[in-house]
Structures are given as structure tokens and as C-alpha cells.
Symmetry: C2
């Protein structure tokens, strides 16, 4: 029997009516001849309530107890979904993480999958069960404690089950109807993609597109799990949504398939840094320890007069989220006070934003960067920092030009055209 | 290390403040040198919410899914209680039913204990844990599904753990401060008992005193678990509340220790029943099948003229809750229509109440019934039906005299005196 994994997020199972709506989508796939594994999140709002109780009880909480409390939300939805399906005449049962068992590491609240044995669920499919409803986001540690997977855990659970059970596809039902060339709130020319390659989706997720968690896309790419993103709130059929798949499945790809952005970026420059072997490590190790997510890094030779500095010096620039600037500043000042690094000045620009173009076609097409820079120059947008990967070019610009830059790039690469 | 079981019901853990209040009581016992097993209910209102969702989803629900959903309430409280204790510096961890494991039968929503192995929890006590917080009301079936125990399940869980771990005592914290000679709302002379024998408590629970579930008292009596009932909402010490214990622990017992009542009773009489061997079974089997809880039964020879009935005839009277009268009537009419029984008339009196006196001293004292009947006669209260056990005498009377009867009996047996 071909098998499908279907995942419903918190807003898709927010109340009994929505659970029923989701169950109807499951029933339709069963009628098409699939065995189905359904992965459910907690009803929206429940997890926040449970987290709130834990944090109010114990600010420095024991993560094992946190996990035991928080995982209960998914268990409720799993039971209710199984009952809803049964009520429709679909043979279904719920599975909690420990019942499968979903074996994970002991890193509570950030556990990783170790193994998902198929035996128990396969046996029930063999006995006539058509749908296994599995509580997402959770697992069991080698010590027999309940674990959770951290943010976006239910997406990751869905992909892991699709991989373990060799599913034909993993459908992620959510509150948007697919992946767009860019955010439709910024340009009405944004177009829904029929297909997108894993690598592109990975870049877009990392760049702030919230539809899929980066980790679930990574896992899908590694195990070649075809992912489909589609809406819980619309009538959907086999061709709905966006398929995230191997690039071999995409016949002809454009050079650029998406424009992403990240609004709250800061640029931090350490001016006149003593340049010596190991200086990068001396700067970025304390930033990492302080939990600063450093993104773009540029080391440049400033044009100013270095007469006062007889040794070799440089300027070091990096970007990070605006919310982490205070932490970054403290880490740098502490490192300087401890004598680990030396610099004249720390210059912070909190008015930046990042805009990126993403496309696997870039690999075989030259001139993408030039085309991007020209489009921005035509709008008189100054580029502060540039960073590139094999399939992505990102630039840091003044935040006030962000929307304009996204629109200009969307036009320049003709993303409105199929 | 001496061990104590402490159980907190839903109102005692209704919010984070109350959980903290309960945890302070646990901490005090740890400071006194006890290892403690804490049994918790769901935060009050949560179980009803979950049950409501299940019933709205599926009126004829799969009890296995019902149990999986409903048991989640206790898991939340267990985690929060463990975190609260940790925050106070008390080494604690939570245990869900399957982690202990609390092995039960597969009768979902009405499961019975099979075995509670001590190994896992004992090992953690040996490693320095002082408090095991166990989710009440739940267990795991031989098939690995979550089970629940039905009404009052958390009390029963507490007693079962006290038996399995050889606890010195099982303290049931609730919203009343002990067991009274009668309901204080009916007479201000009601007096809190320091001690009460298992058998007496069992009769009082069966008779409608809601403080302890009958099943938990039965289990305590069988395993000689000393139970203490005391208030969550008052300062309590070693001598607080009421101890439910073996009668050997009670030096001198009064003849009567309590007056109980049940307000909504109905009396049903089958008039002129054909009297033959097997007639009782023919009447009461259909009632049992219809789920009617028949309580008192009297078979009497009526004084009326039996001329019309050449064979042997009798009247059969029984009592049941008013809410079950319709079901009882239908069961009798169906049985008559099917030719299984014959009677002239079915007379229903829905204006009855039951009043009972209970005391183990009755066994060795004659004249208790006479004293009871005289007290009622002095108030001109007519007795409709009488039923007795070794340690209890119950009478059915007009409902309007119920309070008066309770007061008269409380006075007659001098229950206000210690």
C-alpha cells in the first residue's frame, strides 16, 4: 500500500471544527488508496499556555520536566484526531512518542532523532488500521524520559516518519497555500511556485521564510523526502501547493527562484583590529559563546591612514540580528578588557536589512551578481556588505530601501513569469 | 527511609499558587525525614474540558483514545509539581503511568491495577531523589495503551502506591479537613472524628459521603493502608484530619460513629407479584441489565385481600436513585410484556430519602435499631423500608423529614460528644 505522511500545524487543529476539517483531508487520501501517517501539533495556544506555566513555576527549569509537561499538548490532539477519523469510519489510532517509540537523544527541548522503528505501526497497518495519528514534536530518550525537539519539531517529525516509512510524499498543511517567489505583502507580483528544489528551500528557510523549519528541510534533502506545502483552509487536490523536491524533478529552473529578506539586521564593525593569525577566532569565539548569531562577515583593509599602527591592522565587519547587538557589544568589550583582542572603536549600524536572491540555476549561469547589483544601483540603493553561496547572493542595505530592493529584484529576474 | 504517600486532588492543584502550597506540605514531610510519593490529579476543570472535547468529537468514543486524551491532564500537574519542588530545593521528578509502569487491565476508563513494580522509583530514591511525583488516575495496559481508572482514580492510585511501597501512611489532601460524624451543613453539632475504622468509612462512602471513593477505601482496607484525610487549605500537622485505620488502632469506639444520608431516593413497589421460586432473579436481573442500582429490597406480605389471586402472591419493594426510576420502570414493563414476570401494578414513590447510622460498635451492642427507631418515632417520622448490615442500619423515609431525622439521630447517639 502506498503511504503518505500528512502534517497539520497548530492553527490547522486549533479547535474541534478544524480538526474535523483536517480529518476530511486525511479521509480523502485514504479513499485514494493510501495508508496515512498523520503528524499533529498541539492545538494553537496550548503549547504557549503550558510553556507559560513551566516558566512561571521555575525560571531555570529542569528541561526533562519541561518536556514532559509541554509534550502533553500534542497527545491531546492526537487522541482527538484519531477519534474524529473513527467517527468518519476511518480505522485510526493515536500514538504518543514513547509508544512508537520515537527514539531520540537526551538533549531535552532540543532532542535529535536516533531511530524510528517501524514494527509497531506496520503491524497495525497490517491488521487493517488505515491511519496512524502520531503526536509531533516529541520522543523518548534512552533513559525513558519524554523529550521534545525544539522549534518546528512537528515538521521535522513529519519528515523523519516519511523517511523511516518510505512515504511517497510528506504533505505539510499550514496556513499559507505554498511557497512564493517572495513575500506577497511586499509585491503583488509574487507568484506561487509549483516546485522548488531542496537547496533553494533550505536557503529561503534560513533567510527567514517561516513556512518550513530549516531543520525539516535539511532532513528532507538528506533522505530525499518529497515535501509538499499546502493550505489547510482551502480545497486542495493532488496539484495544490508547492512541491519541495530534488532538483532532478524540476525540468527547467530559472536562474533565480526567490527573493528573501530579513528586516532587523545590524552591522557591527571593529575598527583598526590588530591583524594576526588567530584574530578571527579571538573575535568570533566569544560572540558564539554569547549566543550571537553572526551571519555575514567581511574583513577589509580600510582606506584610512594606518601611520599610528606600526603593525598590520584591519577592520572586521559582521552582521547579526538587531536584538543581539547589546550581547555582541558586551562580548567584544569583555574580550578587549581581557586582552584577547584589540581594536580602536566598535561602530554599530542598527538600520540595516538583508535582501537575498536564491536559485539553483545560479550554479550554471554567470552574471547573476552583476544583474543584482545593477538593479539595486538603478534604484540608488547602496550595498553595505555582500555575501554569496553557490545558490544565493545576499546584500546588506539600508533598511528603508528594503521593500524597494525586493520589488526591484523581483522585477529584474522576472519572477512574476512562470 | 520511612515513606509517605501524599495525594492532592484537583482543587488542591487548581493553579500554580495552589501547586506551590501543596509542594510546601510535601517539603515539610521531606524535612521530617520521609521519602515521599506524591499522587496528583489534573488541575481542576482540565479533565472536564478534555472529556468535553472527546464527547463532542465522538459520542460513542473509543475508550482507548478517551483515556489517552484525558490522562494528559495529570501529566501536566505531575511535571509542574516536580518543577515546583525542585525550585524549593527538593530533589523530585515526575512519573507518568507508563514510566513507573503502573500496570493495569485493559478495561479502558475503568481499569484495575495488576501490578506496580517498585524497581524504577526505588532506584531513583537510592540515587538521592526525595520525591516521586506520580500522575494519578492512569496506567498502562498489557497492550501498551494508556488506561484510566474511572471516578476517584487518583485516590485509588494513592492507596495502591502506599500498599506497593509499604508506606507508613497515605495522606489524602482535599477541600475538607476530615471525616465528620455527619454533614455539618445539616447540623452544627457535627464533630470531626480523629479516627474511623475502614469498615465504617466504607459504609459512609457507599452511603454518599463524597470525601473518599469507595474503591480506594476497599483497597486500603484490604492492604491495611492507613489513610489520612486532611485539608490542603489549612495549616496541618501530624495530628490534623481524620485517620482511617484498622479498628484495632481505635481504642474505644462508640456504638455509632456517623449518620449518613442520601437525598434522592425512590421507592418502587411491584404490587401482587406471583410468588414462585426464581421470581427475585426474574425481577432483579433485568434491573441490573438496565443499569439500575438497586439498593434496599423488601419482600412483604401485603395486608390486602388476595381473594382474586388463588396462587401464592407477594409485594416486592426496592429502592434506587430517583434518576433511575424511568429506566427501572421500563425494565419491569418490558419483563412483564415478555411474560417473565407478572404483577398488578407498579407503584413509584419519588419523594424518599435514606438515612443511616454506622458504627463498628454495633456488632457488640444490642438495641441500636430500637434506639434509632424510637428517635425517629419521637419526631413522628414514618419508616418506609429498613435495611441492616453488621455495622449499619438504614431507613427509607419521606424526603421532607430527612434533615430532621439526621439531627434527631445525631442527638440520640450523642455524636457531638468525643
Amino acid at each position: 500500500m502506498p503511504l503518505l505522511v500528512m502534517k497539520f500545524g497548530g492553527t490547522s487543529v486549533a479547535d474541534l471544527d478544524r480538526i474535523k476539517n483536517a480529518a476530511l483531508k486525511v479521509q480523502r487520501e485514504v479513499e485514494r488508496g493510501y495508508d496515512v501517517i498523520v503528524i499533529v501539533s498541539a492545538m494553537s495556544g496550548r503549547t504557549n499556555e503550558l510553556v507559560g506555566w513551566v516558566e512561571a513555576t521555575s525560571p531555570m527549569f529542569d528541561a526533562r520536566e519541561y518536556d514532559a509537561v509541554v509534550a502533553s499538548g500534542e497527545n491531546v490532539t492526537a487522541g482527538l484526531m484519531a477519534l474524529t477519523l473513527q467517527e468518519m469510519g476511518v480505522p485510526a489510532r493515536s500514538w504518543q512518542g514513547w509508544q512508537v517509540p520515537i527514539n531520540t537523544t537526551s538533549q531535552h527541548s532540543a532532542a535529535r532523532f536516533l531511530e524510528i522503528p517501524r514494527h509497531n505501526i506496520d503491524q497495525k497497518f497490517a491488521e487493517g488500521m488505515k491511519v496512524a495519528v502520531v503526536a509531533g514534536f516529541q520522543g523518548i530518550s534512552p533513559e525513558g524520559r519524554i523529550t521534545t525537539l525544539g522549534r518546528g519539531g512537528s515538521d521535522t517529525t513529519a519528515v523523519a516518519f516519511a523517511a523511516a516509512f518510505g512515504a511517497e510524499r510528506c504533505d505539510i498543511y499550514t496556513d499559507v497555500d505554498g511557497i512564493y517567489t517572495t513575500d506577497p505583502r511586499i509585491t503583488s507580483k509574487a507568484r506561487k511556485l509549483k516546485k522548488i528544489a531542496f537547496e533553494e528551500m533550505l536557503e529561503l528557510s534560513s533567510l527567514g521564510a517561516k513556512v518550513l523549519q530549516t531543520r525539516s528541510v535539511e532532513l528532507a534533502m538528506r533522505y530525499k523526502v518529497r515535501l509538499r506545502v499546502l493550505s489547510s483552509f482551502e480545497d486542495t487536490d493532488e496539484s495544490s501547493g508547492t512541491l519541495v523536491c530534488d532538483e532532478d524533478e524540476i525540468m527547467e529552473s530559472k536562474v533565480v527562484n526567490g527573493v528573501a529578506y530579513s528586516r532587523e539586521e545590524a552591522k557591527i564593525t571593529l575598527v583598526t583590529v590588530e591583524d594576526r593569525p588567530g584574530i578571527s577566532a579571538a573575535i568570533f569565539a566569544p560572540l558564539a559563546e554569547a549566543g550571537v548569531n553572526v551571519d555575514m562577515i567581511v574583513q577589509n583593509i580600510s582606506e584610512k591612514d594606518y601611520e599610528d599602527h606600526p603593525g598590520s591592522v584591519t577592520d572586521m565587519t559582521f552582521s547579526c540580528p538587531v536584538s543581539q547587538v547589546a550581547r555582541a557589544r558586551k562580548a567584544m568589550e569583555d574580550a578587549r578588557a581581557a586582552g584577547h583582542i584589540a581594536y580602536d572603536e566598535l561602530v554599530v549600524d542598527t538600520e540595516a536589512a538583508k535582501v537575498s536572491v536564491v536559485g539553483i540555476g545560479m550554479r550554471s549561469h554567470a552574471g547573476v551578481a552583476a544583474r543584482m547589483f545593477k538593479a539595486l544601483a538603478d534604484e540608488n540603493i547602496n550595498i553595505k556588505v555582500i555575501s554569496t553561496s553557490e545558490i544565493k547572493i545576499s546584500v546588506l542595505i539600508d533598511r528603508k530601501y528594503m521593500e524597494l530592493a525586493v520589488q526591484a529584484l523581483h522585477d529584474a529576474f522576472e519572477l512574476e513569469k512562470p
